[in-house]
């Protein structure tokens, strides 16, 4: 009876199969037009000398791999890669630590944290704030004569304004800090959902065996959280590679000081903005390859550890 029903069901599905294509169509068309064609033409452009000089258009002239050679032989691109990573790490490390801690507390039944809804609402809040507005806010707050400096001076902690935007360390810290603020709530909620999903009988068994909460956390919770960890790591890494809004607005696109807060996408934006299509094409392709390699490497690394 059951088997028969299943069979008739699948034959029905065959009859309706063309609807599968029809429902896929909008996605396919839009994807092809707005992503695939641009993707191919981006690669195509990367082999040409093609830019705007004032009112005149130079090129397109085919120059093979020259754009790539120019980009890769210059130390700048490596520097921007390093900047991007340093700022990503400055945001990611505190983010993962704080998120783990908060998620562990929220999910720990023995702590019975009150006002969880309130805290979750608050920590998730910065994620919804327009990065542009947030960066602009920080720029005004941390300006040489902005409120933060005047607060520090009123409190007597410093005698003259600290130039947050003029020091590599503090400028990068600010970017990292803002990324941390914007994303730790999201990570906490992801990790928390993962922790809540763990079978509670595991904890009970461990407790009966006399395990401390520390042991439970490191021996049971953490290994079971690994998949979510990998997800958080990969998405954060790709998000980090795309870092743009915050440093762009904080430094007005200059990546000051000494281009030490210039990220790869800011660099790309500079070429795009100045209509240097050849260079931006080559840079896009390099970025794409880097993204692919990174996702793969992170995945490989974490899954090997697992085995």
């Amino acid at each position: 009876m059951d088997g028969g029903k299943k069979k008739s069901g699948s034959s029905n599905v065959v009859k309706y199969n063309k609807w599968g294509y029809i429902f896929l169509l909008p996605f396919m068309i839009v994807y092809a037009v707005f992503q695939l064609i641009p993707f191919v033409s981006t690669i195509y452009y990367s082999f040409f000398e093609n830019y705007r000089s004032g009112l005149k258009q130079i090129g397109p002239n085919f120059i093979g791999m020259e754009n790539y050679a120019t980009l890769l032989s210059n130390a700048d691109i490596w520097k921007y890669t390093e900047n991007t990573f340093v700022m990503w790490i400055l945001g990611f490390i505190p983010q993962i630590i704080v998120s783990l801690l908060l998620a562990a507390w929220f999910s720990d039944p023995s702590l019975r944290i009150k006002g969880q809804r309130f805290f979750k609402t608050v920590i998730y809040l910065p994620n919804l704030i327009m990065a542009a507005a947030f960066a602009m806010l920080f720029f005004t707050l941390f300006a040489d004569s902005g409120p933060i400096n005047s607060m520090l001076m009123q409190a007597g902690l410093i005698s003259e304004p600290y130039k947050f935007m003029s020091n590599t360390g503090s400028a990068r810290m600010l970017v990292g800090f803002m990324n941390f603020l914007m994303w730790f709530g999201n990570t906490t909620i992801l990790l928390l959902a993962g922790m809540m999903g763990i079978d509670t009988s595991l904890f009970e068994a461990a407790e009966v065996d006399g395990a401390t909460s520390n042991q439970i956390f490191w021996r049971i919770t953490m290994p079971l959280l690994r998949p979510i960890f990998v997800f958080v790591l990969i998405t954060s890494l790709i998000g980090g590679l795309q870092m743009f809004d915050v440093p762009q607005i904080l430094t007005a696109g200059e990546g000051a000081p000494d281009r030490t807060t210039m990220t790869l996408i800011m660099f790309l934006n500079k070429h795009l903005f100045n209509k240097n299509y050849g260079m931006s094409g080559a840079l896009s392709v390099i970025l794409l390859i880097v993204t692919g390699i990174l996702s793969f490497a992170v995945y490989k690394f974490t899954s090997n550890q697992n085995d």
């Binding site: 599905v13 065959v14 309706y16 609807w19 599968g20 029809i22 429902f23 909008p26 996605f27 839009v30 707005f34 992503q35 641009p38 033409s41 981006t42 801690l101 908060l102 507390w105 023995s110 702590l111 019975r112 809804r117 805290f119 979750k120 609402t121 608050v122 920590i123 998730y124 910065p126 919804l128 327009m130 990065a131 542009a132 507005a133 947030f134 602009m136 720029f139 005004t140 707050l141 409120p147 005047s150 001076m153 909620i189 959902a193 999903g197 795309q242 743009f244 809004d245 762009q248 607005i249 007005a252 790309l268 934006n269 795009l272 299509y277 931006s280 896009s284 970025l287 794409l288 993204t291």
Partner: protein
């Protein structure tokens, strides 16, 4: 036995106290900036140059008026941002559900290939195709219109993936069969049976899609050039450039507040559904 319990109890209390202290610290860390923003938006420029205070000033209305009177088209910016973000959220969730439904409910030749393909392209950052995208939009005469910011939302691999996963647990095939037996067309089935069942997933993804579009700065900044068409993030970024506003910082803070606080209010109203659902959903799962 007794002493052990006592020790355990006190350690829980200590841990609880630490937890609360850290939580309060983190809360302050999150809210402090918005408090400063609020204070500063209510003070006049010359007050602001004299340092920071914890008490709001009386210039909120004056700052608001000067913002409205300035050449920064903030109202149209807000309107543009709303139009784009809402349209993108609607299109993205509707069509992602449709795409997911195609993969979920039907058997056809390229199904698995398509699924793998969509998963693979999920990782491509939108910025790396920006060059080709902008050029194509130029050729299609779509530059400086909202189309390039709205229509691409139809193809949202991440939303698709989420919907697909949700369907596995929430959309029994038997229900669809029943609908077919009742003579419902496929398209109608999708609209009147599938969509309502997907509501919880659609709600969450609509919010995410809205926020992503609302906050987007990179693409709109390359596409939109006319003042009246610019979205809020572009207008905010323009504050960094010199010629605007004649340096009235009260007005600058008011403008940042204007672009931040509406979202905060909407969020606080909906937060029960956004964040509150987490625990309940997790318990269910």
């Amino acid at each position: 036995m007794d002493s052990r319990r006592l020790k355990r109890g006190s350690s829980v209390t200590t841990r609880r106290i630490i937890a609360y202290i850290v939580l309060i610290f983190v809360t302050v860390l999150c809210l402090f900036w918005f408090y400063v923003l609020f204070i500063n938006a209510t003070r006049s420029h010359s007050d602001l140059t004299r340092g920071f205070t914890l008490i709001p000033g009386g210039y909120a209305l004056a700052n608001w008026k000067s913002l409205m009177g300035s050449t920064q088209p903030v109202l149209s910016g807000m309107r543009n941002s709303l139009i784009i973000a809402i349209s993108a959220a609607v299109l993205s969730t509707y069509f992602s559900t449709m795409t997911a439904y195609a993969i979920h409910a039907y058997e056809f030749k390229i199904k698995n290939a398509m699924f793998t393909f969509i998963l693979a392209v999920m990782m491509i950052p939108t910025q790396v195709v920006a060059l080709g995208f902008i050029n194509l939009m130029g050729r299609m005469k779509l530059m400086d219109t909202f189309v390039p910011l709205i229509i691409p939302a139809i193809a949202a691999p991440a939303t698709f993936f989420y919907m697909k996963q949700y369907m596995e647990s929430a959309l029994p095939m038997a229900l669809l069969e029943a609908a077919r037996i009742d003579g419902s067309g496929e398209f109608r089935t999708f609209n009147s049976i599938v969509l309502p069942l997907m509501k919880p997933a659609i709600a969450v993804q609509a919010i995410f899609a809205f926020v992503a579009s609302w906050n987007n700065y990179f693409t709109p900044a390359l596409v939109l050039t006319t003042d009246k068409k610019k979205t809020l993030p572009i207008l905010i970024a323009q504050l960094r450039s010199a010629d605007f506003l004649k340096f009235d910082m009260g007005q600058v803070y008011m403008m940042i507040a204007f672009s931040i606080f509406p979202v905060i209010i909407v969020y606080l109203i909906l937060s029960k559904h956004i964040v509150g659902g987490v625990a309940v959903g997790a318990v269910k799962g």
